[in-house]
Amino acid sequence: MIEKNLIIIGGGPAGLAAAKSAYDSGERDILILERENTLGGILNQCIHNGFGLHTFKEELTGPEYANRYVQQVLARNIEYKLGATVISVTNDKVITCVSEADGLVKYHAKAIILACGCRERPRGGINIAGSRCAGVFSAGTAQKLVNIDGYMVGKEVVILGSGDIGLIMARRMTFEGAKVKAVVELMPYSSGLNRNIVQCLKDFDIPLMFSHTVVDIKGKDRVESVVIAQVDEKLQPIMSTAQEIKCDTLLLSVGLLPENELAKFANVQLSNVTGGGVVDDKMMTNVEGIFQCGNVLHVHDLVDFVSEESELAGKCAVDYINNGKTESDYVELQTSGGVRYVVPQKISRKVDTGELKLKMRVANVFKNRRLVVEVDGEEIFSKKRPVVAPGEMETITLKADQLDKVSKGQSVVVCLKEV
């Protein structure tokens, strides 16, 4: 058993930012375990630009953004292992890791940060009927094949789901000479960023069909066509609207799910809404000394916010290593009125970070609303939002005096209200 103060599982943007911040908070005994052969995580295949405006005040591509953090970790000489897959984590913080280089190694850590990201919802998860032939990819799988491995996945493409990866891949496939025939979205709105709808679809006249879904995939060996149909308000397909689109490839961008297999091993309490852990304002889960940050906690749209959240997790993990758990008395945050979830889900009665960011997603597209925090029925925070949408994470920053009220409250509700 190898003893470590802090082990960070995952060397993507969340893990790297957490490591850097832990180091800068004075911790030197840090180990990052990364299962891939490079640091940087999924950003390495997100070759498009649009990252880093918040963190670095300039527009970077995914690999460049990742490399900024990689360089900061390297400059601090933080230990990391590549090709190292963690196969279990226990609630007394024993990690079992395997790699080609070191074999099976057991570590014990004073604190663990789970930063293992998310995965894509597969075809099976949305029950699309039809042939199980080749040519159906999740968008991220196609992205890796095209951007890292250099292989083209198809010539005529239909994309189901208008999440950002789907939109980005529509442009990417177009750039590589494929014809993207349609992007089909089940909901009456896109869960992707507006800018991506403009620069990935509109720029290339790719039709975006809202309230439609794929009801059949045809083809013996390889996809030959897909059948799409409009859906009713209960999201059930209206078969009389079915139309067949000839294509050789179907890309799926139908949602991301926090990858919480390891958290389950350690008995970390998970949220049914986010799929990630339930954490406090220090990013600690219900298991003492196990922290979460980034997409394993809840799926973000912007990596900048992953970095920010992870830096907080790194700092708090070090605080825990040095001082132990200092809080046991929490206020749970409730949500209502169109707010689907808020992270963190609970706040200690003594928040000492000065200010606190609450991140949340709404359940639908709403216009002219206020994001409100109510403590025992009294509004202590209100922020006007002309438009809110499920695809765009909302953030509230509570200042010290507002936090004071939250900490004293019994019922704290985060909600949307009419202006």
Binding site: I87, S99, G140, Y151, E176, D216
Partner: protein, 475 residues
């Protein structure tokens, strides 16, 4: 040496091939797909039936009972997953109670051991998640579950190491009697044999009708399934049937040998014998009917759907025996309980053919086959050891099912090794987990490409034109 051709490398063809390897004969298996277990054998319920459902005094009843008894030994000998977990037939209405009793008596007549009828409350003690509507169940402790393609692969591998030759992508277009039997394939090749054994599944009628005047009709009866995430494994510990209908055994809810929950199948007769696509209606029916047995089933926990075609003989029973054409042997209409019966059919047919052809036994036959060493089921000491021996076991390729590069390389390089993504998947489970190969597709393609010395653009999902990528970018 006597020459024997087996048409079809499904579970029946592979079982017969393995049993024939016990004799001195030149055995060749011709398979139209790119791998073994590509038809009905890969897409079925994976149930080792107790035998209460088969009509007494039929071949189905006979081979069901004989086959069931062979699994404990065979699964160890050939190293494939099998668990004798028992089954329950759920009765939702007092009115149907006589039907349940009839099953009980049919089971007794067939020689099924240990059958008991339990009241609903008693059944819920054993299976707490079954519906409150269940008033009684028939419990059959001898029922089991098996990995159907793992079993087929095990038979085929063992046949192969004992000298049986397998050829793939051999679609048989004609079988005719000349001086000996001649089998012609779509690629222009032809093969001669003293005996042709027809194990062509849903196509067994077409093969029969090429060779024989006495025509046969096999209907492809589609069954659609949904597979649920392993986290739902707690929902059932027995295979849970509903009272059977004339189309089959109804929709079941069952654990799989790997801890998932399988629900299905539907039963719809198909004209197109290659149509294994799932349908909106079919999947809805599966979910709706399965939810009657286990109301807690959650559609969001489904990780994949598939369908298979049962080879239903319109005359009802299995067809097993030499046809009116000497040298042409039918093993046809092997629908449920076909998987259960397969070991016993293999044993019977091999002995029968050996008798007809006067075959001598093969003293060099090795009955034992060792499967791929599965990392996910090892304890940490075993894991540490195997990585020391073969560091590729330290490289986890499939995260969800924890499958290592060591296993994938073994699956490709062992006898009758995997040649495509689905082949790797069925042998190692890589890509069978909750992400359904989202992360590991490109890694497995690279390993296939490296081990087979084949360009990435030639790597397929399941042979034929199922290529995964179509070319290179920027060239």
């Amino acid at each position: 040496m006597s020459k024997i051709i087996i048409i079809g490398a499904g579970v029946v063809g592979s079982s017969i091939a393995r049993e024939l390897a016990r004799y001195n004969a030149d055995v060749l298996v011709l398979e139209s797909a790119n791998d073994v277990a590509c038809g009905t054998s890969k897409a079925n319920s994976g149930i080792v039936h107790a035998g209460f459902d088969a009509k007494p005094n039929t071949l189905k009843a006979k081979f069901n009972i004989l086959g069931n008894a062979m699994f404990d030994r065979l699964s160890v000998e050939l190293d494939f997953p099998f668990k004798r977990i028992g089954a329950m037939v759920l009765c939702f209405d007092e009115k149907d109670y006589p039907a349940l009793e009839e099953l009980y008596h049919k089971g007794e007549a067939n020689g099924v051991k240990g059958l008991e009828i339990l009241p609903g409350d008693k059944a819920r003690e054993l299976e707490p998640h079954i519906s409150k509507e269940v008033v009684a169940v028939l419990r059959a402790p001898s029922s089991g579950i098996v990995g159907p393609y793992e079993m087929t692969i095990a038979f085929a591998e063992n046949a192969c190491v004992n000298g049986v030759e397998f050829l793939f992508n051999k679609k048989v277009t004609n079988v005719r009697k000349a001086e000996d039997m001649v089998v012609e394939c779509a690629d222009g090749t032809s093969y001669h044999a003293d005996m042709v054994i027809n194990c062509a599944g849903v196509f067994a009628d077409e093969i029969n009708n090429m060779a024989c005047d006495k025509k046969m009709q096999i209907v492809a009866r589609k069954g659609e399934y949904m597979l649920l995430d392993k986290t739902n494994g707690y929902l059932a510990s027995h295979t849970l049937f509903q009272l059977p209908t004339k189309m089959g055994k109804g929709i079941l809810v069952s654990p799989t040998t790997h801890g998932n929950i399988l629900i299905g199948p539907t039963a719809h007769d198909m004209l197109d014998k290659e149509n294994v696509s799932t349908t909106v209606d079919g999947l809805n029916e599966v979910y709706k009917m399965a939810s009657m047995s286990v109301p807690e089933l959650n559609k969001r926990m489904v990780i994949t759907q598939f369908s298979g075609l049962r080879a239903h003989n319109v005359d009802g029973d299995f067809v097993i025996g030499e046809s009116e054409v000497k040298g042409f042997y039918n093993v046809a209409g092997i629908e449920s309980p076909g998987l259960t019966s397969a070991p016993a059919i293999g044993d019977y047919v091999a002995k029968d053919v050996a008798k007809i052809m006067n075959l001598e036994s093969n003293p060099n036959f090795v009955p034992v086959r060792e499967g791929i060493k599965q990392f996910s089921t090892m304890d940490d000491t075993q894991r540490a050891e195997i990585i020391k021996k073969n560091p590729l076991y330290g490289k986890v390729v499939c995260r969800c099912e924890v499958v290592t590069e060591g296993e994938i390389v073994d699956s490709i390089n062992r006898p009758l090794g995997a040649k495509d993504l689905d082949g790797v998947k069925r042998r190692t489970r890589a890509g069978m987990g909750r992400c359904q190969s989202g992360f590991c597709t490109s890694r497995i393609m690279e390993i296939l490409s490296r081990e087979l010395g084949k360009d990435m653009t030639k790597i397929t999902k399941f042979g034929g034109k199922s290529n995964v990528v179509i070319g290179r970018v920027k060239q």
